[in-house]
């Protein structure tokens, strides 16, 4: 840990990935460092001998590697998330239907494989996250309902759901359990008639679990056409969307719920458009035959 702390002081905060590498690869050097700190006198007397020690060689190698990594990290276009965070916004990697889509979708679902998305280090707040989700949203106001998975700087991955009625309401967000990385879950926003409340609402679900539901009448506040979207998202383009080229985040079984009969239909690519907001990320073409695509960080 001493080496890691020194490197962070010297070069700024390290990316998640680099920090992990420092912990693993430099543990031998750390142990040597701690031993040396136990006796400064001993160190002075044996300085010449210690230069030949394996631990010292490890320290030199690790410091050199960390220095090189820290210097290169901001400039590497195709690397895992590093220390630098650029412009904060909402950055996407995935597909959505056009806002002028004449089909009246009222719900959506997708199976998404859980992958870890590393985030840049300069912002360790809850504003800095990496997520993947399915969403339905109106086009007449700023609102949406979504479910998926998310992680923040230093956190585990959590299932989550979020909805916002319109521009004057809050962002109601709820976390669920910790999913298994590499497993696939069904994330769905399901339109249903709540007979108790006497209104149409949307359930935000993970598999057969409802995390939360909207509490307003969908068709009073939202006018059609609705937008459906399946995306990976980060707050910074320097963060990673879930998935790597060797272990991509798969979106499969994408479906839409039709306004007219509340039934589910396979999504088509006839009105979908793709969006990839960072050159560090990739997105495969949408397969109409199987309703699937992949996203990953290069």
């Amino acid at each position: 840990m001493l080496l890691e702390q020194w490197a962070e002081r010297r070069f700024g905060r390290l990316g998640d990935e680099m920090r992990r590498a420092a912990r693993i690869d430099c543990s031998r050097a750390d142990r040597s460092t701690v031993r040396r700190q136990e006796s400064a006198k001993h160190v002075r007397q044996k300085r010449a001998k210690r230069l030949a020690r394996p631990g010292h060689r490890w320290l030199v190698v690790c410091v050199a590697m960390l220095s090189l990594g820290a210097l290169l990290a901001p400039g590497i276009a195709h690397a895992t998330a590093g220390s630098y965070c650029g412009t904060k916004s909402n950055w996407f990697d995935g597909y959505a239907n056009a806002k002028n889509d004449v089909w009246n979708w009222e719900g959506t679902l997708a199976n998404i494989t859980v992958r870890k998305g590393l985030v840049c280090d300069a912002d360790s707040s809850s504003a800095n996250s990496s997520s993947a989700w399915a969403m339905i949203a109106p086009t007449n106001t700023t609102g949406w309902a979504q479910s998926g998975y998310i992680r923040w700087w230093g956190s585990s991955i959590y299932q989550f759901a979020q909805h916002k009625r319109d521009s004057s309401s809050g962002y109601t967000t709820k976390l669920g359990s910790i999913p298994t990385t590499g497993s696939t879950y069904t994330y769905s926003e399901v339109s249903y008639w709540n007979s108790t409340a006497g209104q149409w609402q949307i359930k935000e679900m993970v598999n057969s679990t409802v995390l939360q539901h909207t509490n307003w009448n969908t068709f009073s506040y939202w006018t059609e056409p609705f937008e459906v979207a399946w995306d990976g998202e980060t707050a910074y383009r320097e963060s990673d969307v879930p998935g790597l080229s060797s272990s991509k985040a798969h979106f499969t079984n994408m479906q839409v719920q039709w306004f007219n009969d509340d039934k589910w239909y396979a999504a088509s690519n006839s009105t979908l458009y793709g969006r990839t907001d960072s050159s560090r990320w990739s997105r495969s073409s949408f397969s109409t035959a199987n309703q699937l695509f992949d996203i990953w960080t290069n």
């Binding site: 956190s155 809050g170 962002y171 679990t209 939360q212 007219n260 006839s270």
Partner: protein
Amino acid sequence: MRYRILLILLALGVACGVGPKPGSLVRYNTSSPVDVTYSGAGTDLAPPTTGASAAVTPKITADQAWQAYKKSGVFPGVASQAAGSPDVSLVSFSDNAQGDVQADGSIKLKFQHVLSWAIVFHGVPWTGIGGPPPASGSQTVATAAVPEDIVIIIDANSGQLVSAFADVPGAAVAPTPVSSDKGLPLQSPSQAPTR
């Protein structure tokens, strides 16, 4: 010599109070029982005597609950954004929305009257996670912040994270009387999708 130095360092550490001090990084208020509804999230924080099935004596302390929250990593950094110190109080926690759909379509609620420590950060400028992507060819726009409560629920007996959510406290929006008719569709029913 080596051991002597270690002993001196240990003594200095004890004298200076070095070591884990739960709750020392952020000062929080151990408040009296609360009774708050978060209608958007469908959750309710009630005084622990109300409906709590178990004894109201928690097995873990507020400090231990705080440490469990820090360990979970959820909603990081909100302590520095909140309006004032967070409140930590013993509550009976119910989530009237979260549950598993049963074969008959009903929902079996997962959390009802769970004796919990509620850690509440008030007035956090929360921007959510995102929102829909902009129209094709348009630039992304950062979402505007809304002051909300960030609430962390820690089981007062097991110390496990039960729930975490962000919402504006208060009652539900009064439902607009509507029929089950959604209104006129944009697309004629005769033009059923072939997809």
